[in-house]
Amino acid sequence: MAVHEPTPLERFLNGILPENPVYRQLLGLCPTLAVTAAMKPAMTMVGATAFVLICANLITSLIRHLLKPHLRILVFTLTIATFVTIADRTLAAFAYPMSKLLGPYVPLIIVNCMIISRCEVCSSKQGPKAALADAIGVSLGFLLALASVATVREILGNGSWFGIQLVPESFPTLILMILPPGAFLALGSLLGLATWLGQRRKARVSESEAGSA
């Protein structure tokens, strides 16, 4: 029996919400917790991760017929590490203060399970179109996750968004939110909200299916 492989459009859409890397798969949590104290570093991390994901997915997809099953992880890691190094050096050359701010988190993209999982699940099995659509969809999902956590943290902890002051400086802020515990509090709350919304939607769908039956 032929196995149904998702189309490029399905891959793209799945990556954003149904298979969101952070909220649904709990992958890429290290950068989600570490660089979301403000929007600027969070968006830089999303950009670097998206670049690596798109390049790694495309390369893996193009060489998928040459991969040997027992050596595939080595090929994925080699490919990912190359593009992470390029992203790291590019940031150091053109956005030096941001590169210093992100510190070891850019090189740590190499061990981000989100990227290696896309190579394993999609690009090593499907063509470049599906791999590209998957990488863009997952990158948008990652963007959504990091932006939501960073928005909550920066507004509550600093009263600003993207460095723009939203509330008067005299307004009390929750410093805790831009400290490490704030990352866990924000992610936990948003994860709970996402799960609750997902379950509510699922329950509505089953109810309507039962009604029509």
Partner: protein, 227 residues
């Protein structure tokens, strides 16, 4: 044919090919970007030199302007100071002679760049020394990739300030806690959970100070160590 396919080369040819292609790509990227990265690092060094030699309080809130080898500092109260930074030939990664005003001005101190392996990767430091190299004026972490929330505490000012004012007549040691550190004026209290990173910083400082002292006593050709 099946013998060739099962050989190491037959199994690993793709990895070897990719390693060659990616290696060449990274070499090209490095050649293209490294001058710009070095320029960024030099600008950062120039910005940090006043704080290292004059003290963090003296430059807090000050505006720092860099033009060539000149660093101008205008404090919040409106006082302005000018420093001249001249790179010296050295076996250290870099050594800077810093004088007040023009290059003939009073020697303010030395700033040396040193590096060694930390816990995770290479740690690069700037070490500030008085003009007679008898005292450390401060340290600054230029580059590190230590464990987040543990070893990366070496960049914090509360850790770095332990080094300011220590005499250079004896190598620094690391005390695992406040009690151990208090036993010697040359002992630095390690960061909790990051003894290796703390020890690496001390070793880099010791090696850099020793090298600078040797070079000032026996200058290399082109070295300008005049008082």
């Amino acid at each position: 044919m099946s013998r060739l396919r099962n050989s190491y080369l037959g199994q690993a040819w793709l990895i070897l090919l990719l390693a060659g292609v990616f290696g060449a790509l990274l070499a090209a990227i490095h050649l293209e970007l490294s001058p710009r990265i070095e320029e960024n690092i030099r600008a950062e060094i120039m910005r940090e030199i006043p704080g290292l030699l004059l003290g963090g309080e003296a430059v807090a809130g000050a505006s720092i302007t860099i033009v060539g080898d000149q660093v101008s500092i205008e404090s919040a109260s409106g006082e302005s100071t000018s420093l001249t930074v001249v790179e010296q030939p050295s076996e250290a990664a870099a050594l800077y002679r810093v004088s007040e005003g023009d290059p003939e001005g009073r020697l303010l101190g030395w700033v040396a760049r040193g590096q060694d392996h930390g816990y995770a990767d290479v740690i690069e430091l700037l070490v500030g020394l008085t003009g007679d190299t008898t005292q450390i004026t401060g340290i600054y972490v230029l580059n590190q990739k230590e464990t987040p929330a543990l070893g990366d505490g070496i960049v914090r000012s509360d850790f770095r300030q332990h080094f300011a004012g220590i005499a250079t007549d004896s190598p620094l040691t690391v005390g695992r806690n406040a009690e151990e550190a208090a036993q010697s004026p040359y002992s630095i209290q390690a960061l909790t959970g990051a003894t290796v990173s703390s020890r690496s910083v001390c070793n880099i400082v010791n090696d850099t100070v020793a090298l600078v002292k040797t070079e000032i006593a026996e200058p290399l050709e082109g070295f300008d160590g005049r008082p």
